[in-house]
């Protein structure tokens, strides 16, 4: 019975020793072996089952993956004295685990170092540039324009982008270059940094909004006056076209009538003027014709007995009498 207990205890102790002398390393981490708190040997960077001296040696896992740093949004002024809230993110990696372990011990202190370094480098870079340099990226980009807006906006120089010298990428690179150098001593490699959020500070926003509102109102007024102007133009066209059409009609009508009269006159003249006889005959017949219209009911006609019609009232042969 005692033997059994002894065996059990011995087995238990052996198991405990075995368990504390092996450890596993995952793909995502590397190990620093410490002996009474002091690092010994090279860091273990390959994954799998590993052996150490039990009890004396401790393993300290260090992350092998790419890590993120998410900055807190902080307010800072730009070169043009605009207060903006800037939010950055960075990616970094532990390249020298031993150095990292000695200088920083854990990730929390690493993150806080990054906060300090990136925070101050960001402030420096932002203060050296105007806001638009941080907002825009592509230098010579031509914006699309609303075809409806084109005229109005071109005149007011709206719908165009504010020109830049450097752009966001270069500012990011400046921050990156300055910070990457400073974090190297911690066994850290900064992979890249990018602006995550840039926004107007709360206190600046009302002013920005006021500017946007006035800009929009300006466009609205422009539309209204364009509308009224175009309407006036159309009304003018209406009057012009109306006069044009009516006067053209008048002209053409008179031309046609004139030609018609001329033609008629020509026809008449040709017929009536063919010889002396025709002229005399026309005169006679036309006069006769006209009597029918000239002599009306209430005309008082004084006729002589000498006239051709009444000459016979005097006698059968007035011509002879007259001749006498």
């Amino acid at each position: 019975m005692n033997k059994l207990i002894t065996l059990m205890v011995m087995l238990g102790v052996a198991a405990f020793v075995l368990i504390s002398s092996i450890y596993t390393v995952s793909e995502v981490e590397q190990m620093i072996i410490t002996q009474f708190g002091k690092p010994v040997g090279e860091p273990v960077t390959t994954a799998g089952l590993k052996i150490k001296i039990p009890f004396i040696q401790q393993v300290n896992p260090i992350e092998k993956r790419v890590l993120e740093w998410d900055g807190n949004p902080s307010d800072m002024p730009t070169k043009d004295k605009l207060y903006i809230s800037v939010d950055l993110f960075a990616r970094w990696r532990i390249t020298d685990p031993l150095q990292y372990f000695l200088r920083l011990r854990d990730e929390r202190s690493a993150q806080s170092r990054l906060d300090d370094i990136l925070g101050s480098e960001t402030r420096n870079a932002v203060a050296k540039h105007e806001l638009i340099e941080i907002i825009r990226t592509t230098r010579d980009r031509e914006p699309l324009r609303d075809t409806l807006l084109t005229d109005a906006e071109r005149d007011l120089n709206m719908g165009s982008l504010v020109p830049i010298q450097k752009g966001r990428k270069l500012v990011e690179q400046e921050i990156f270059a300055a910070a990457a150098e400073k974090v190297e001593v911690f066994g850290i490699e900064l992979l890249d940094i990018r602006f995550k959020r840039i926004n107007y500070n709360e206190s600046v926003r009302p002013k920005i909004y006021d500017r946007m509102i006035s800009e929009r109102r300006q466009i609205a007024e422009r539309f209204l006056s364009e509308g009224n102007g175009e309407a006036a133009r159309i009304r003018g066209n209406r009057v012009r076209d109306l006069n044009k059409i009516q006067s053209e009609a008048y002209r053409q009508v008179e031309e046609i009538r004139g030609l018609a009269d001329a033609k008629a006159t020509e026809i008449y003249a040709r017929a009536y003027n063919q010889n002396a006889e025709a002229v005399a005959f026309y005169e006679f017949t036309r006069t006769m014709e006209s009597y029918k219209f000239i002599i009306a009911e209430n005309t008082t006609l004084v006729l002589s007995t000498d006239s051709e019609l009444f000459k016979f009232l005097k006698g059968m042969n007035p011509d002879i009498g007259e001749n006498q």
Binding site: M1, G12, S20, Y23, V25, S26, V28, E29, T46, A47, Q58, P61, V66, P73, R91, D106, I132, I135, R136, T137, P143, D146, L149, L161, R194, R197, I198, Y200, R205, I213, R216, I219, A220, F223, L224, G227, A231, R233, I234, I245, Q246, E248, A249, Q252, V253, I256, R257, A260, A271, Y272, E277, F281, T285, I295, L301, V302, L303, E308, F310, L313
Partner: protein, 351 residues
Amino acid sequence: MSSQTGNGKWGSPSGRGVNPGSELEQLIEQGQERLKQVMPDGSSSKVIVIVVVALLIGAWTAYYTVPSDSVAVVQRFGKYVKEVQPGLHFKLPLGIDTATIVPVKRQLKQEFGFTTPGASDPYQSPVAGKRETEMVTGDLNAALVEWVVQYRISDPVKFLFEVREPGATLRYVSESVMREVVGDRTVDEVITIGRQEIESEALTKMQALSTKYAMGISIDQVQLKNINPPEPVQESFNEVNQAQQEKEKLINEARRDYNKVIPLAEGEKDQRIREADGYRLKRINEAEGDVARFSALLVEYTKAPEVTRRRIYVETLQAVLPGIRSKIIVDDQTNNILPLMNLNAANGEQP
């Protein structure tokens, strides 16, 4: 033991989703030892029960199922061994092998500025709420942009082992790229005319970054949702729309007046011209008619001018004279015609 505490300390998802074995095993060992102390006489049947329980637990941790939309990444003592396709699979029990299930075929998405309720993926919904949507445009205006990124896990090994927080990193990348793209555009482009361009450019840039970051993620689509000007400015944007409508209205009304008058005038012009043409035809035909008549008469007239003249004269007077109420016929020899006039009749005739 070491890696376990390590992962806990680092607050990492650890890439060991399915590993109940190792902790269970420790518990059982402790239990066994306690049992041995409690029962020093060591009845063999109880030992057998314990062994059976231990075996059952071992068997329990020796298989796993991979759903059809996923693959499993198997690690032995933390070292990557293989990638396993969907189905029922076996592994070494008691925490020696761990299998992490990665949903590679599932279409995943991240929403920015809005939330679809009931999302299981913690990275799908916005963390910062409305602050995510606030952007500054290239003409220094402000805009609120909402969008969705559709992605898949294309490389489970990279996804697990290259970057610690691929989901969070993708969110950062997406926000950063969207601001970069919006920052290069005017507020009009962002709100109305440039949406498609923004989508495609953001997609290209996000794809480039996710490749560069080796996150094992492939981005399929970037879709813009609501894009609005900030609340206090919205009204003035509406004013512009209204003014645009008003402009169209004014122009249309003027066109209406124009259209009311001009085609009518054109018609009237044609009418007058046609009427004039009618006059022309009438005039010419009449002239020709007159002339024809005259010419015909003339021919006969020239044959006997004197008689014809006389005939016409007398005929005309015959036609004319009966219509005249007062006719006075005088003779040369009668010097005073007054007594002949009927004064009453003449007075009666005068108005």
